[in-house]
Symmetry: C2
Subunit: 417 residues, 2 copies
């Protein structure tokens, strides 16, 4: 079957499944999630065998150690996937929630209730755990899902998705609730992005290149996720111990994620006191520092930052550091180079805190805390499909509610206009 | 100046204005709205002279009477535009509203607050009143706007937008909050749809062709508005007097709008009692009826409906009528031909009402009321920029709140992860 035929067939099946899934009660969806988790554990050997094929192919193709590590599955990683599905089963069902309700003077009763989006297309890269993760989130929120993973992980993804789809259906979920595109032809991605008749929303999960491709080419509405050039600004009035802890944590605790800090901005008034111990701590932790000329005075290992550094998401133990003359200069730097993800100020001045939160245009704006908290679990959503960096529909961490739309139920007694 | 240079220049100005407008207090925005209204009234002669130029050009080009009527401005229409702006000034400011707030176990306080979207691009067709309407809604919701109206109305739009921009700025709104693209080159629309660096959201207002062009070509996120193939289903248990009133109102009260009914579905059990007086009423009101073969038995003037009729938004005094054997058949018809806008059932059976509202996938689902209520004013929003027929971001009538996004303000005391 060619990829277009596969897409249209799976699209039509998904659309039918979505209509039934929208009215499937939480008990059935939760039973399906448990069955999916059990299925992954019971089928671990089958999954690991498929994953071994992908690993052999990846090694033969010369994939980097880091990419191979992301691709590799183990019993422990499969157990984590199962645990994630069971956690989803324990969360409240967002579907059917009445968001607001009111009565009009003419007696019409209007209720705004949460409904699923319909069919969600997920386009992602090497990690096969996304297959289970995304399928679970979509099912719990009442959406049919069409998954399109990277070709490097095709055997792993087929094994995982096959088990999930079978388990969900046997537990009572509509057939076709979970489907994976089997073709690895890259043209299938572009065709999927124009499948407006069948797909309601596309969510890309992956690097900047993938997200750019999706945004450029999709006629289906897209939720853009994940690029984070995040800043921490140490204000003149900052508690410098707190500032050092936050700036260290935001860079070092997990440098490969989107909520990690890439650039540290330091008010000139505290640079002399703050930077020497800060830069020493980075140096000791193996962090490469690229600084403005002012920063270079405070530690011999600091390299000179170029213009591109300010705009780069390193995803690595590298940080750029810039001394600024004022809060206004910090705000201007963030407006110029930030990606509207997460920005933090460390300050003890109320007016600086207020102004920073009012003027910074980002999904999450922190006072005296690490940018690393921009995360569905840390926000208390219990789950996360990604971090939206656009302003339409959802902004910041997206949990189950962000995978829903609304509809208005209007009840009358014969009202006409 | 070529259109690309104009777009980029106006985009950069709008982006700057948006940053300032986001923190402009409601008092200033309301003062600007009043100044804009006063400006329109004071400048009525100037606007009417510009409009006369457009009318002469339109007549010379052979525009239809209906289109010329939409293009024409009068003192009364200008007064309506001014009244609309003053009404906006009286509405609550959506910006700054705390949507939710909570505290995490680690002490982080998280507040989800409403913020403007940023820069909104509005692409619209002949009606010059949209210029004032859209500019007012965007300003009140803290967004800078870039307007791109139809070439037939260019002189009217330039006159109106010029007055609005000047009045708003003089009243304290940031310069560049309201801008109109002056070039009538059609290529400017496509370039505007790819202006991701400057425009946050595009909202098309117009016919199906315009909306299709925007959805197909925009890399900027789009809110799709307005196509409505709406149905009224008369159930077996319907109060037939109520059903007749609703089906008459939904078609006849204003056939040219998107919430008007296009297809009437009638349960076979009541067809013989319901259809003869209903069809007679339509005939008397000059409504052309295109029916299934069953319907044709009940009135001599009924023409046979073709397959395309079920999918057509007539925008006119034409209705298609179909007899169905069951609620399930009505639901299947609506799923196949509806545009997810507004759907109504007339019934006295609780289970039918419940099932219809649960299973119909549309922005507004009515029980015992006319589809004509899907409207920002009728819903009580006080204003409306359009009716969203997509599921992402906003669904149904879009008022001021639907022109906003959110951001998370996170306040800590040194929390790290």
């Amino acid at each position: 079957m060619d990829y277009l035929a596969e897409l249209k067939e799976k699209g039509a099946i998904a659309k039918k499944a979505a209509a039934r899934l929208a009215v499937t009660p939480a008990t059935v969806k939760n039973k399906a999630l448990h069955a999916m988790a059990d299925g992954l554990e019971a089928g671990a050997d089958h999954i690991l065998a498929a994953n071994a094929e992908d690993m052999v192919a990846g090694e033969a193709k010369g994939m980097s150690t880091a990419l191979l590590d992301r691709l590799a599955l183990t019993k422990a990683r499969i157990a984590d996937m199962a645990a994630g599905l069971r956690q989803l089963a324990a969360l409240p069902d967002p579907v059917g929630e009445t968001v607001e309700g009111w009565q009009r003077p003419n007696g019409l009763a209007i209720a705004k209730v949460r409904v699923p989006l319909g069919v969600i297309g997920i386009i992602y890269e090497a990690r096969p755990n996304v297959t289970a993760d995304a399928a679970g989130l979509c099912l719990k929120s009442g959406n049919a899902v069409i998954l399109r993973g990277g070709s490097e992980a095709i055997n792993s993804n087929l094994a995982v998705a096959g088990i999930l789809a079978k388990a969900a259906e046997e537990a009572g979920a509509p057939a076709g609730s979970i489907q994976l595109i089997a073709t690895t032809d890259r043209a299938a991605v572009n065709a999927m992005l124009r499948l407006n008749d069948y797909i309601d929303v596309i969510i890309p999960r992956g690097g900047a290149g993938l997200i750019q491709t999706v945004v450029e080419n999709s006629t289906v509405p897209v939720i853009e996720t994940g690029i984070g050039v995040c800043h921490v600004f140490v204000d003149a009035s900052a508690d410098l111990t707190m500032a050092k802890d936050i700036a260290f944590n935001a860079k070092v605790s997990r440098p490969g994620v989107c909520n990690a800090m890439e650039t540290l901005l330091v008010h000139r008034a505290v640079a002399e006191d703050f930077l020497p111990p800060m830069l020493a701590a980075y140096h000791e932790a193996g962090v490469e520092v690229r600084g403005c000329t002012g920063t270079m005075c405070y530690h011999p290992a600091v390299k000179e930052a170029g213009e591109t550094d300010w705009a780069t998401e390193y995803h690595d133990l590298i940080v750029s550091v810039r001394i600024v003359n004022s809060l206004a200069e910090a705000l201007a730097h963030i407006a110029a180079y930030g990606t509207r993800h997460s920005e933090a100020i460390v300050t003890s001045n109320l007016e600086s805190a207020r102004r920073f939160q009012a003027e910074v245009d980002a999904a999450a704006v922190y006072v005296n805390a690490s940018t690393r908290f921009t995360d569905g679990f840390e926000f208390g959503f219990g789950a996360e499909i990604g971090i939206s960096t656009q302003k339409l529909h959802a902004r910041g961490p997206m949990g189950l509610r962000e995978l829903t739309s609304v509809k208005y139920l209007v009840n009358g007694t014969g009202q006409i206009r």
